[in-house]
């Protein structure tokens, strides 16, 4: 019965073809360091799901942001779990993505024909750091406030356009309600959209080109 349904669907959707090319790819003999891309993908999914759940109660306004997070932590069932996973997942994400990059670098896996996989990977690394930076302000506690103050001052050291960049990031002279709202927007719309698009390209390239083997002494 199940196989009958699957066959019916397969005939129309071409599931076997997708399965063969996406999951049943030939890969060279590799080790555990080569699982970090999949680990990153899993973490992105986890961050996405827990992040969506957090928006149910979080309010991106300076007068309610902190209280709404206190409510998530103490007032809602398992709020601590959802936020805890999002919090630690974020840290883990940066670590895993970074080690993934190091592995690619040391294995010289960025060379022809995989230059674009590398370039999209760099975009993903920067977007991940951007997610970390924008997400850090959202609790609107002392640490968040001052980290964002410092973080938005860094581009201010660029000659001529620096102060302008700082103001653009902050949406004004200082950290305000406008800053919180735009960081929230970046955190839940702009950067996730960029990440989703770039992951799509990254994955397409991996499926199309495969992954490179571990370099030998002759290489």
């Amino acid at each position: 019965m199940t196989s009958k349904v699957m066959n019916w669907l397969d005939e129309r959707l071409g599931l076997t073809g997708i399965y063969d090319s996406v999951l049943d790819r030939n890969i060279p003999k590799v080790n555990w360091w080569f699982t970090l891309g999949s680990a990153s993908l899993f973490l992105v999914g986890l961050q996405g799901i827990t992040g969506i759940f957090l928006t149910v109660y979080y309010v991106p306004s300076p007068d309610h942001a902190y209280d709404s997070i206190q409510y998530i932590m103490n007032g809602v069932a398992y709020g601590w779990l959802i936020r805890g996973i999002h919090h630690w997942g974020a840290t883990l994400m940066v670590i895993v993505v970074f080690i993934h990059m190091l592995r690619t670098f040391y294995c010289a896996a960025y060379k022809y024909p995989r230059e674009l996989t590398w370039v999209t990977g760099v975009v993903l690394l920067l977007a991940t750091l951007g997610m970390g930076f924008t997400g850090y302000l959202l609790p609107m506690n002392q640490k968040a406030y001052w980290a964002t103050t410092v973080g938005t001052e860094i581009p201010g050291t660029i000659p001529i356009i620096g102060p302008f960049l700082t103001q653009v990031l902050r949406g004004g002279v200082g950290i305000s309600a406008v800053t919180l709202a735009r960081f929230f927007s970046l955190h839940i719309w702009f950067l996730p959209a960029l990440i989703a698009l770039t992951i799509g390209i990254h994955m397409y390239l991996i499926i199309r080109l495969g992954i490179s083997y571990i370099p030998t002494k002759e290489d």
């Binding site: 149910v56 309610h64 809602v76």
Partner: protein
């Protein structure tokens, strides 16, 4: 190919990965349901007995206003509601407690001692000392809170309005 009586490596990996995935999905999925539902299940009790102080504080025959504020907590937000109650002691121990809200559009009514009526400033609604509509648009008499006297202390029961 003859079928081996033992599980193949591929089957074992498939089952293990599936089981681990199901466990992870359950660990996040089940609490997530509670996370979404919990505020709905924890409804705040809105009815409560409010003590208005010693009955001796209220003169007989003259409606006296008592005001208080109650704060309701909705998640991360608090709303303070102010209430006004006219305590009218008809006799020593016959007490009526009126909400000072006009039954027309909920403007605050005030007791006019010289005319012996509750006056609503919005549309000139008038109620007599027993809360009965005398004149104007109010459709019903003034709302009466259920009250009780225990150990000389007057209390009213606040209900969900």
């Amino acid at each position: 190919m003859t079928k081996s009586p033992h599980m193949s490596r591929r089957e074992f990996v498939t089952i293990t990965v599936g089981a681990l995935g199901a466990i992870m999905a359950a660990v996040i999925g089940l609490p997530a349901i509670g996370y979404l539902l919990s505020p709905a299940l924890r409804t705040q009790k809105t009815d409560a007995w409010i003590a208005l102080g010693s009955l001796e504080n209220y003169p007989v025959g003259e409606p006296t206003l008592f005001t208080f504020t109650r704060t309701t907590v909705n998640g991360w937000e608090r709303t303070a509601n102010s209430y006004g109650v006219y305590v009218y002691r008809k006799t020593e121990d016959q007490v009526t407690t009126f909400a000072n809200l006009c039954t027309h559009l909920s403007c605050r009514v005030t007791w006019q001692d010289d005319e012996q009526v509750y006056h609503c400033p919005c549309h000139d609604g008038l109620f007599d000392i027993d809360g009965i509509v005398v004149k104007g648009p109010p459709p019903r008499p003034l709302f009466q809170y259920p009250n009780k006297i225990e150990d000389g202390i007057l209390s009213i029961q606040l209900e969900q309005v």
